[in-house]
Subunit: 344 residues, 2 copies
Amino acid sequence: MVTIRDVAERAGVSRSTVSLVLNKSPLVKEETRELVLAVIKEMNYVPNNNARGLSNKTMNSLGVIIMNESQPSNSYNFDNHSGLCAYNISNGIMSGLADTDYGIITEAFCSVAEPDRLPKIIGNRRVDGAFIVGSPYAPELVANMKKTGIPFVLVGVNSYEQDADSVLADPGEGSALAIRYLVETGHKRICFLNCPTRFRSYYVRKHGVEQLVKELGVEYNPEWFLSCEHNQGASAYKTMKAFLDTGARPDAIVAANAPLALGAMRRLHELGIRVPEDVSIIPYEDSVLCGYAVPALTAINIQKEKLGQLAAKLLLERMKDPDRPYQKIVVPPYMTFRDSVLVR
Amino acid sequence: MVTIRDVAERAGVSRSTVSLVLNKSPLVKEETRELVLAVIKEMNYVPNNNARGLSNKTMNSLGVIIMNESQPSNSYNFDNHSGLCAYNISNGIMSGLADTDYGIITEAFCSVAEPDRLPKIIGNRRVDGAFIVGSPYAPELVANMKKTGIPFVLVGVNSYEQDADSVLADPGEGSALAIRYLVETGHKRICFLNCPTRFRSYYVRKHGVEQLVKELGVEYNPEWFLSCEHNQGASAYKTMKAFLDTGARPDAIVAANAPLALGAMRRLHELGIRVPEDVSIIPYEDSVLCGYAVPALTAINIQKEKLGQLAAKLLLERMKDPDRPYQKIVVPPYMTFRDSVLVR
DNA sequence: CAGTTTTTCCGAATCGTTTCCGGAAACTTT
DNA sequence: AAAGTTTCCGGAAACGATTCGGAAAAACTG
């Protein structure tokens, strides 16, 4: 293993000089700088992260912690109750970190129910900063995290105000987008298929939609605001079955997420109700599922990659300046147009 | 930050003693051991990874490298041409590492086309070992990796023999499972919808299936071995369209992966051909998609989590004993039964 | 009980960087 | 050319652990 000492020797300079070059210090002559750089390249030297970190009190790595509520085992790839897909976000983070030399350590999955555990894990692993993704409202956790002194940013959904840096998708805005589009395309009887509103982001969605429906003068019927189990296609199927059995015939359905939409469609399909000819359908969150459904689903996209990228940027800035005021970035959703909405 | 020195002081022992306790050395009296442990707990001491690593020449972290061919941006969550979903594998790895104190560093995505880049990245990040997941046949890459001296294991699909530790799913076996099941349930006219056989794992699938079809005495028709673009539902749709336009009417379709199956089903749906009443369909790889399709798809599951877990175990063993012979673990697939196969 | 072995602990060197500080070299100014 | 400024470089002390050889203490021997 070639060390800084070897490089120094070969280049005929001192170790500290090499170090200065490495750290882009301005107080080394251009000429020597180039020489050293050349030797580094020639000898294929790469600085030892541990030594560097030991000296710096830095770890050269950031943690990505995925909250339990977006557990990977089953519905991870989907919209989870934070409306986020942790995996895509991680990707975004990685791309946002591409030109730094931070490594990313993906940590165990944590639950909000244990607000101590996370800070502990992070402390043990000794990262320089952390992304907490998919986190729902968790003031206690946030408070504990702050105590560790490790900078962090929340990546999630815009619901409660939290006193920390955060990059968030906007569920209310997304639902609004869907409703507006449906109204514009001539739909009149809109049904909203939601997850339980005890999940804050679904609460936000529901109220956003209610507001808007009234505003736009669409027929408003509280009974058309359905709720089914979280992310359960099967539950959506049942809910839709019960709903349609009452004789209700919506001309559009906004589903809180893709599995819900698919579950609902299954029932529609059984009854011979065609999508989009008889009823249009828009799931809140675009996912891989939507593109492959029959018909392919027009959907709201919350830009997970972008969330991750922005989070990376934010964390980097925070680490540079620990005293700056907290920042909250809300990323607007957009619509991906496919075939599940009938344009009249 | 509390260091080993603080602990030593408070416990009234030397630093080396504390270190010995930390490393579970047998040469410290039970009594002192307990004392030290108590102090550690009391002071909330956690050893500094960098210092430890500097001393040990160890990095306390392992790299997970995901090969480009399973690029996340689009089809990552699906079967990729290695038949693997890198994400689930990562999860498996994490669970396999749960009781060690290794962290996982997920690395940039690499392509086999650049067999130098990967070893370089790994070398720079200085990990103690690496998982190379989703890698197709890549002898040059493997050779380069060996030169780095960093232990690694390949996680992928059983196709070529490679001179390295590996944990692999068995594509041939999976296809066979599907065919056997279809034959047992009374299907006679089986069509195989594959990806291009220039991808080795698809080559293996195809030949496995051909063999078996002949063996089992099912009607064999080379023209029923379709090939479409890699993982492209749209391409499967077109291929199936052209195929059905010839008047062919299979009673079962084995698709190489879920997107293909869905693409094909779209065309079937258009033609009013019912699944499973008129034609059964089994995608090779179970994925989140399968459960939500209409009807839900019976599928082959390659146990990605398990692949990851075994890989973790294997790498750990390799690191312990660098000279042991290479090992190759093949994980058998199983079938998840849902509603896309008609049992006659 | 002196000598020997075994057990338990400690001191000091080491790992590869960074960083501070003193001082040399090069350049300006007068 | 001497004095004063800049600009650069090298020595040395951290950083927080591990490890090895040997000392001290305890436990056996005969």
